[in-house]
Subunit: 144 residues, 2 copies
DNA sequence: ACAAATTACTTCGTGCCACGAACAATCACA
DNA sequence: TGTGATTGTTCGTGGCACGAAGTAATTTGT
């Protein structure tokens, strides 16, 4: 009896597993956890308040507090209070954080592109276009 | 100035983010954590020893112990000692575990297939084929 | 046959991550 | 000037993952 062909759903799950592993492996190389890397990527477009940031990352605010605490202790980000609204806090990359996120981004991009390296240009282009279509309305967690 | 087109790497990251969220959302609906769901899916092909299981999931053995402990306490799996090798432990789904993983699998498949629902058949087929090609040598974490 | 190496799994300590409930400070506005 | 919403934090709980060290059973080498 022939082996069943892998369906779309299974393929998506395996791809996710694969990318997730890459993500955490590259993160480890930059001394970043997955959550930290995601946060830094989100911040690389510019500083954000805690509420915006938790929205982008899909986390509760209470979860974010500790994440920012640890990143701040490692010197990757700083909190700055907004003079306009003294409740609000802006989280911003430090130079070290910027450097880390660049290293992370470059290496990850390299490794991800390598996944498609064997594709003929037409197939790669088509695949990328389909990807874009699927994720059209997913918020950016990754600097583009 | 025109907005840059999303590259393949960014698309992969966003897709992963999206699928990961679906995964944990569906898991929550079945009262399963992501790690638990992954373990149960891996076991749905048949019982495995701790070593095999930690290999499939990409976890250290010491991490797996607790994962199995918690799943066992929830009645999802059982440990059975192998009479041939009294060091070895086989982890096996209980009926409740089997039921949970089926519900999870069905719902997740439904939600993932929905991502491609708008694709014309040709594009969907091509996309799936490309997926298969990328993940060809990734171990199954998901029953097929 | 028996000591040494190996294998299978667990325990322990550490740290990170995420949630929800409860709270303090500030702002908006009526 | 209050009242209600918003911003962010604290606290308690639980889960996840790692590595080092430990226990028990099997295998290997002589």
């Amino acid at each position: 009896m022939m082996k069943e062909t892998l369906g779309a759903a299974s393929g998506l799950v395996r791809l996710t597993f694969l990318v997730q592993n890459l993500y955490s492996e590259v993160g480890r190389g930059c001394d970043l956890t997955v959550a930290q890397a995601q946060m830094l990527c989100t911040l690389s477009d510019g500083s954000l308040g805690m509420a915006e940031l938790s929205g982008s990352l899909g986390l509760e605010r209470s979860s974010l507090t500790g994440l920012v605490d640890r990143a701040e202790q490692r010197g990757l980000v700083v909190r700055e209070t907004d003079p306009r609204d003294r409740r609000a806090v802006n989280v911003e990359l430090t130079p070290a954080g910027t450097e880390a996120v660049h290293r992370f981004h470059d290496e990850l991009t390299r490794r991800l592109d390598a996944l498609l390296a064997d594709f003929p240009p037409t197939e790669r282009e088509r695949f990328t276009r389909s990807l874009r279509r699927i994720v059209a309305d997913v918020p950016a967690v990754f600097a583009d």
